[in-house]
Symmetry: C2
Subunit: 439 residues, 2 copies
């Protein structure tokens, strides 16, 4: 099975755990069979591998997510990097071209396209495999997954099949209806549209050629920012007469709000949290080291991270995004290709951060033109290069870099540094990259 | 008027704003007429000054509070320092001896004794003054303040007066009754006991002499840890036949829980907080720089500080103390004589803190035997002394001190330093003080 996982953008609906540069799919909140915590993307990847150890997985993701994907899934996963945001049609055809041109997948082979964040049982991935098999048969140009509705939801689009069979043709699509209309659809055998489909690779490339005039990976990648922002539904599905739908009966959750996320949590708390015995249906996700204490709450979710603190009635949590959109705040935590950083203190003309480098990783060789930096190594070992001079570093080592000083650090073990930035204009964009010197 | 304010100990009932070394009376949560925020102790001190600009105020407080008291009330306030905790009788007679021996207050002069944390209108302090005047008359040995009850509370002790006059003798005391009994007391004219009384200084010294054999300040201070833990009610009030009570009719609040504290807040939020329009009767006190977002909550108080986060139904908040007693955690914020510090990061063999020195203040000249320190100055100016060598410091200055290095810093302006402590055994008790060198 070839599978493309669509990895969406910034997920403010799960603030403060997600933010502009950290999407919800990378937050580690689900308990693994071994008792560790894994993220949505790790859970889905593990489930795919279990259903089909031979599956080739490609993640269609924006540039900003590459570090997080490699940190969480390792170096071997395929990534179709979106140079900028261009909706689902460009993202899907770019990933298809990546499969075809970079991984040698033939035009007659089937590909399954699926969001990266469904919270589902293992059987779902078996169904994806069968979706791919169905697409390869070629009875239809597109094969959708139709999820058997459990209630007349107003949140989903509906697919009307021509008959009650496991696989049938699609007679119509209906956009998010009200509950009464939804119930009428369900009475006529309608299914939820979970945004999952399979088709042949060549079918996607043909559509790219028709709309853009080309379908080769290099050209799609290079001209990506000039492609139109257009959804796959609008560009392809609505115009396609030959579509089949395959029913899926199992549990399926779309984890887009704190309410649905907390339903998927196996335990009521993740992190340092204390609930007294008068709490009912309370979930706490605490990424801070200090405790969260909850008393006498009902149907409430509490989440704390370096970005902020949310306390919300579960039903209300779906209205979070517009509130968080108004918060204009420095990013307080980020994953990078070499590890992560966390802001510890924001001063008027200073910024103190904690930098954690993964073993064997290194920063770019870089300098800043408008700030000085002081590094104090607090744990681990490695070496630093300052203006071309290499030195070993260990806990207690202090490195001072005036503006203009070219510097990097290479971690032998996991390496932690307290970095104090000093200057009148401290800004993430003040960074000049230089070629790594031979020292 | 001579007034002794009893400053109680650690207030875990207002965690996370109060902790083992930071009592509730020092938290700045009340809006001043000028729009700033002031603490309970600042509010009471300001109100006393307004009622009686000539009042001499002495605060009976444990050693750990001296820095906070001077930081908040200035250097001119009198402090009777309790070398250790010994309940109210030793604390009150120590303070009376301090007034008599150190401030030359005569035995015939009256003193008013009052908790440091009542949340009251200005008229209360006028009533205190009259309480002192009444005590000076000498009709009774003790004059209590009786607060006119507004409901049959089960939280307070009751005073039964002999008559309905403004000032009358006390016929009996009743400990916290149930609501029905309380209502019966109130029908008989009973008053709440707010823990406030006035008497002559000599009366307190006489009781000290009778019980301990001495009443001079120096000896009481030096033998304080051998004095019995005994309350003033038990030692004096219960045995005294000649007690008057003076009625007080105004608003009076005992701020001991989050519920009563939030009732006293003029605005629903202090600090960075966003409440959506479905919140009802929600109060937020946020000392962190990141936002607290509340949605769809009712009758809830949220408080966030470097120590932790509390989310509690207001009624439940009175059960907080036993929960917080179980939390065993490093102190994350403290006020010191020279300013304050805040823990930014706790590593396995490192601790990063932000130190803020007040203008003109200095640390002790000290060293540590089991940790190195690295200071990076991030704002302000001053000078540092390292092993007897003085140097000027300004933002960007880095000072490294190996274990054993004697050091201090003297702030010319407000001075902020990021301090990284490094070592296997980082402990506040690892501190050796040395005489300040002449450099």
């Amino acid at each position: 099975m070839h599978i493309i996982l669509l990895s969406g953008g910034s997920g403010k609906r799960l603030w403060p755990l997600s933010n502009d540069i950290r999407s919800k799919q990378f937050i580690k909140i689900f308990k693994t069979p071994e008792g560790d915590y894994e993220s949505m993307v790790q859970r889905v990847y593990r489930q795919i591998r279990k259903a089909d150890p031979e599956a080739s997985v490609t993640i269609a993701a924006p540039k900003a997510q590459i570090s997080a994907i490699h940190n969480q899934l390792g170096q071997n996963v395929g990534i179709s990097v979106e140079p900028c945001r261009r909706d689902t049609f460009p993202a899907i055809v770019l990933a298809a071209a990546y499969l075809h041109d970079m991984q040698g997948v033939g035009e007659e082979e089937a590909v399954v396209v699926c969001p990266v964040d469904p919270y589902v049982e293992d059987g779902y991935f078996q169904a994806l495999k069968e979706l791919g098999n169905q697409a390869r048969l070629g009875e239809a140009n597109l094969v959708l997954m139709g999820i058997e509705p459990t209630y007349p939801s107003e949140k989903y689009g509906y697919i009307l099949p021509t008959g009650p069979e496991q696989t049938s043709f699609v007679s119509a699509f209906k956009e998010k209806p009200d509950a009464k209309t939804a119930a009428a659809y369900i009475a006529r055998g309608a299914l939820w549209n979970g945004g999952v489909f399979a088709c042949k690779v060549g079918y996607l490339l043909k559509h790219a050629r028709e709309r853009f005039g080309f379908a080769d990976y290099q050209r799609l990648y290079e001209s990506y920012d000039s492609l139109p922002k257009i959804s796959f539904d609008y560009a392809v599905v609505e115009k396609e007469p030959k579509i089949q739908v395959r029913r899926f009966y199992g549990a399926w959750k779309d984890i887009g709000t704190w309410n649905t996320l907390s339903e998927a949590m196996e335990e009521n708390t993740v992190g340092n949290a204390i609930l007294n015995d008068t709490c009912r249906n309370v979930h706490v996700l605490n990424e801070l080291s200090v405790p969260v204490v909850c008393m006498g709450l009902e149907n409430v979710v509490v989440s704390a991270s370096p970005e902020g603190i949310l306390v919300s009635d579960k039903g209300q949590s779906s209205y979070l995004k517009p509130i968080v959109d108004r918060i204009d705040q420095q990013v307080m935590f980020a994953e990078k290709s070499w590890g992560s950083y966390r802001v510890l203190d924001v001063g008027e003309e200073s910024l103190t951060i904690k930098v954690t480098l993964n073993p064997g990783s290194r920063m770019n060789y870089h300098s800043h033109s408008r700030r000085d930096e002081v590094w104090t190594v607090v744990s681990g070992e490695g070496s630093a290069i300052l203006d071309g001079v290499r030195r070993e570093v260990k806990p207690g080592e202090v490195l001072t870099m005036e503006a203009g000083c070219r510097h990097t650090v290479i971690a032998a073990t996991e390496l932690r540094i307290i970095e104090v930035q000093l200057g009148r204009e401290i800004n993430v964009s003040d960074k000049q990259k230089h070629p790594m010197p031979e020292v």
